[in-house]
Amino acid sequence: MADLVAAFGSAFGLVIGLDPDLLEIVALSLEVSFAALLPAALIGVPLGAVVAVARFPGRRAAIAVLNLGLALPAVVVGLGVYLLLSRSGPLGSLGLLFTPTALVIGQTVLVTPLLAALSRQVFEEHWAEYEETLRSLGAGRVRAVATLVFEARHSLATTLLAGFGRAITEVGVAIIVGGNIQHATRVMTTAITLETSRGDLPLALGLGLVLLAVSLGVNALAQLAQETLRRAEA
């Protein structure tokens, strides 16, 4: 018990003292997850919009596949990207495995389907409400979808935050394709995993506290977005 209290004490010390090792890991985590969120949003959100608005054969099957994105196992994505990037894999010659770029690729693959599935739901609800109005006003398909993105902006902001939360808290992809290499690919989740198994509880706890704070911040932002929306419409 005393050990635990001591561990908490030094964990706070690391966080408050801005320990350089801890800062490096936190910074890389944030960088990688933001870098993954950007392409994931650029691919996932339009994909969600198309599946929500377009009518094509096999649409129900497409939705079922898309919804897999809601519960995609990170370790499986990690394994897949590992096979792709490993020396004998199709992209092996690029030498990306165990680099931050590999982390970004892996998290992009993980988050894109999540954003596509979540934004499809957002777009479908809005489309049900807006379709007749937009068509009556004379908007063509492309303009209608652009209008829908604008009209759904608050819900989409929440969706993006959910995607960021997923990226920064996942451990499966980061450990498999990143390899948890010190000063190179060590992010918060992989560091916590390693330091816990090595018994360095203060660093693990300190990182855990930061990760928790980041998640809390993301949720607070999401709530703020929702409340802004509600206030605007009250």
Binding site: S136, G138, E151, A232
Partner: protein, 243 residues
């Protein structure tokens, strides 16, 4: 600010239109023609199919059978020469003025002219003081009037109104009907549905009586309210509950 009108898209011919929804027939063999000029009111009890008729005529819904054809010389531009106010209007999440600007943007009207037309339409509709308010924050009655102004701003040849006052109190209804009259005097063909007899009497020039998915008569308003030719319409006018 009168603008030269595009060639007329009217008359509209509805020929043998029927529709099933979920396997249930809701409209059956509708045949009528709508001409430029008179305010046509589609009257009938709830569930008669008034809303469906309007949406099919406007082109939001494809009928299962039959055809809806614009016969005027301007028929090719029919989509952009119409506007509709839905029973529960959906305003865009932006300011009132921006809501009116939207259909003008769709039609490629230059920005400066857009500003002027939005301003003028808000004034004609008595909504100038709401221009900068966010549209979704307005009361139901105000939203209905903004939706009507948004439909008016493009100066449509045909304006479809689906139960325009169904959830409004008398004051809001009066304000709405004033705008509806102004739109009619500006030369727009109005086609509206209602189950409200008093409102039909106030606004109709001709009545299409719809009952159980069929048009039972299309009669000038005076004649209809004097002596309707169908027994169902006679019963409806007497306030009886139709089977």
């Amino acid at each position: 600010m009168p603008r030269p009108r595009a060639p007329s898209i009217l008359p509209l011919r509805v020929d043998g239109v029927g529709i099933e929804i979920g396997g249930v027939p809701r409209l059956c063999d509708l045949r009528f023609e709508l001409r430029a000029g008179p305010c046509s009111v589609i009257l009938g009890p709830n569930g008669a199919g008034k809303s469906l008729t309007l949406r099919i005529c406007h082109g939001l819904l494809a009928p299962s059978r039959g055809s809806v054809r614009w016969l005027g010389p301007g028929a090719a531009r029919a989509t952009l020469e119409q506007a509709m106010v839905l029973q529960r209007p959906v305003l865009l999440r932006r300011r009132v003025a921006a809501n009116l600007d939207y259909p003008l943007g769709v039609r490629g009207v230059p920005a400066e002219e857009r500003r002027e037309r939005v301003r003028a339409t808000l004034e004609r509709a008595g909504l100038s003081q709401l221009a900068e308010r966010s549209a979704r924050a307005l009361s139901v009655g105000e939203q209905q009037r903004v939706a009507l102004a948004r439909a008016w701003v493009t100066d449509p040849q045909v304006l479809w109104l689906d139960e325009p006052a169904s959830s409004l109190d008398p004051g809001a209804t009066r304000a709405l009907e004033e705008t509806i009259r102004a739109i009619r005097s500006a030369g727009t063909k109005l086609v509206m549905t209602t189950h409200d007899l008093a409102q039909a009497r106030r606004l109709a020039d001709e009545v299409l009586f719809l009952h159980r998915g069929r048009i039972l008569e299309q009669t000038p308003a005076d004649a209809f309210f004097d002596a309707p030719s169908s027994p169902e319409a006679r019963a409806f006018l007497k306030g009886e509950l139709l089977p």
